[in-house]
């Protein structure tokens, strides 16, 4: 008998059919109780995948593959399997996850530059980051992004990747996904474009990392306390002066541009907006997850 892991993909509204990190919540919740037998993850209600959903899916599959004798992925339609193939998903998981989708057929019309930035990257060390940033910057430059925009996107990506490489040590390293959209995907409907960056690692998580510094004892009672504290300038595991500025600064960049940064680890999730911070409790995430939204308003576009 296979254990079925379900999603909570909304069927109505702006986020209808979208695989987000939140839509994986029921599956993460059920994953903590798997007993080693075969599991099937049902993605048939998904019509659209955003980078955060893709990173979350990758982290969830890593978690399941390490614990279950067999992992099945149920997909429907053509768009989602084709998207996953374009993101090199089956190259990363094809050997370890079974699927009903005809991956071989998808492979024949493999991606050639799809016109916008969309990447899923698996990496393990800090050494790999400059190469990743170089490649993303080049794609953005070819897309007509101005230097200022590229700097915001690339420095956000490099900081979150560096955090994952430093604190997120795990067998699978970390997954980062980036996608540039010609419309706004997050939040209220408005005009503009948006870049989404997501990253997931399988490390010990933020609370455990900060707990290593006795100075932060009063800030590590709950996961949400730890996440809020980690977003403060100068808070780091080692407490060394100069450390712990990256995340606070990129959260500031995202918030000022009208976007947001979400940090999720353990059972906590904190989202930073321009004038507020929201915390809520969520099902256990086995590692650390970051999602950044960087909107690109029309007047900021390169005027050519």
């Amino acid at each position: 008998m296979k254990t079925q892991l379900d999603l909570n993909v909304r069927s109505r509204g702006a986020m209808s059919g979208v695989l987000t990190m939140g839509s994986l919540d029921p599956a993460f919740d059920a994953a903590t109780r798997v007993d080693g037998g075969p599991v099937v993850l049902d993605l048939r209600a998904v019509e659209f995948v955003e980078p955060a959903g893709l990173c979350g899916l990758a982290a969830l599959l890593e978690f399941l593959c390490a614990r279950c004798e067999e992992v099945d992925l149920a997909l429907a339609g053509r768009d989602v399997p084709a998207y996953l193939e374009r993101m090199d998903f089956f190259r990363m998981f094809g050997e370890r996850v079974r699927t009903n989708a005809d991956v071989a057929a998808l492979g024949e019309r493999r991606r050639h530059n799809p016109g916008t930035l969309q990447e899923l990257i698996n990496f393990h060390t800090e050494e790999e980051i400059p190469g990743i940033i170089g490649r993303i910057s080049e794609i953005l430059e070819n897309q007509g992004y101005r230097l200022r925009e590229r700097v915001a996107i690339c420095s956000t990506l490099s900081e979150v990747c560096a955090n994952a490489a430093e604190h997120g040590v795990s067998s699978f390293g970390a997954y980062a996904a980036v996608q540039a959209y010609h419309h706004i995907v997050s939040g209220a409907r408005r005009r503009g474009e948006e870049v989404l960056i997501a990253i997931a690692d399988g490390g010990v998580g933020v609370r455990e990392t900060l707990s290593r510094n006795p100075e932060y004892a009063e800030h590590t009672t709950t996961d949400n306390d730890a996440l809020r504290h980690a977003l403060e300038m100068g808070v780091s595991a080692t407490g060394e002066i100069g450390r712990g500025g990256g995340l606070a600064l990129v959260a500031g960049i995202a918030a000022r541009s009208g976007g947001s940064l979400s940090l999720r680890s353990g059972t906590g999730r904190v989202t930073v907006y321009e004038n507020r911070k929201n915390s809520r409790n969520v099902p256990q995430f086995p590692g650390t997850f970051v999602r950044v939204s960087l909107p690109r308003t029309p007047q900021e576009k390169a005027s050519k």
Binding site: E126, C154, S155, E159, G234, I241, G242, G245, G246, V250
Partner: protein, 190 residues
């Protein structure tokens, strides 16, 4: 002003570890080590111009590791009497350098190009700003003259200028003055 001080220009974008995209602490460390090598080759009183104008992107981690730690070691006297000057225009890239130096309560002298009017990046305590400005206006000034100009007693003036010298923002020379006294002269470094 005194004689032309020995100096060297280090272009970050074209060095061995350099490039347009400067990210991660690891890269910052490699660049910092190269900068430290260049500093140590300078004679005493020498100035190292760190030119980052060819760099497009510098993340916080890189800025802190390459420049924040360098400024911190310089302020603790590790490079002896050698000074750092940042060559960079007033643009977004400075934000991360600024953030790193502020975290460390440090500052660096910055010029748009070599020979241009100097400015400050980072944090200089309010009570030292006026002293720093007076030294830069004068180019070179003795403690006695500076004290008069600022309306301070000699000890207070010397304390302020010594603090600025320790931060690496000015050069301090000691001369033996008759009879048996010592006289300090402060000089701008850029």
């Amino acid at each position: 002003m005194g004689e032309e001080q020995a100096h060297r220009v280090f272009e970050v974008a074209s060095g061995d570890f350099g490039g347009k995209l400067m990210v991660t602490r690891r890269t910052g460390r490699a660049v910092r080590e190269a900068l430290e090598g260049a500093l140590e080759e300078l004679p005493k009183g020498g100035i190292l111009y760190v030119d980052t104008r060819g760099v497009e992107l510098m993340d916080y981690s890189f800025a802190d590791e390459a420049l924040g730690i360098l400024a911190s070691r310089s302020a603790s006297g590790e490079y002896g009497d050698r000074h750092l000057v940042l060559v960079e225009e007033d643009r977004d890239l400075l934000e991360n350098v600024e953030a790193s130096l502020r975290q460390r309560s440090l500052a660096m002298i910055r010029v748009d190009e070599i020979g241009a009017e100097p400015g400050i990046v980072g944090e200089v305590p309010d009570h030292l700003v006026e002293t720093l400005q007076a030294i830069y206006d004068a180019g070179s000034i003795t403690n006695a003259a500076l004290a008069t100009r600022l309306g301070l007693n000699h000890t207070a003036c010397n304390n302020r200028a010594t603090r600025l010298a320790k931060l690496g923002l000015i050069h301090r020379r000691v001369e033996t003055a008759a009879p048996g006294g010592r006289q300090y002269t402060y000089e701008r470094i850029a």
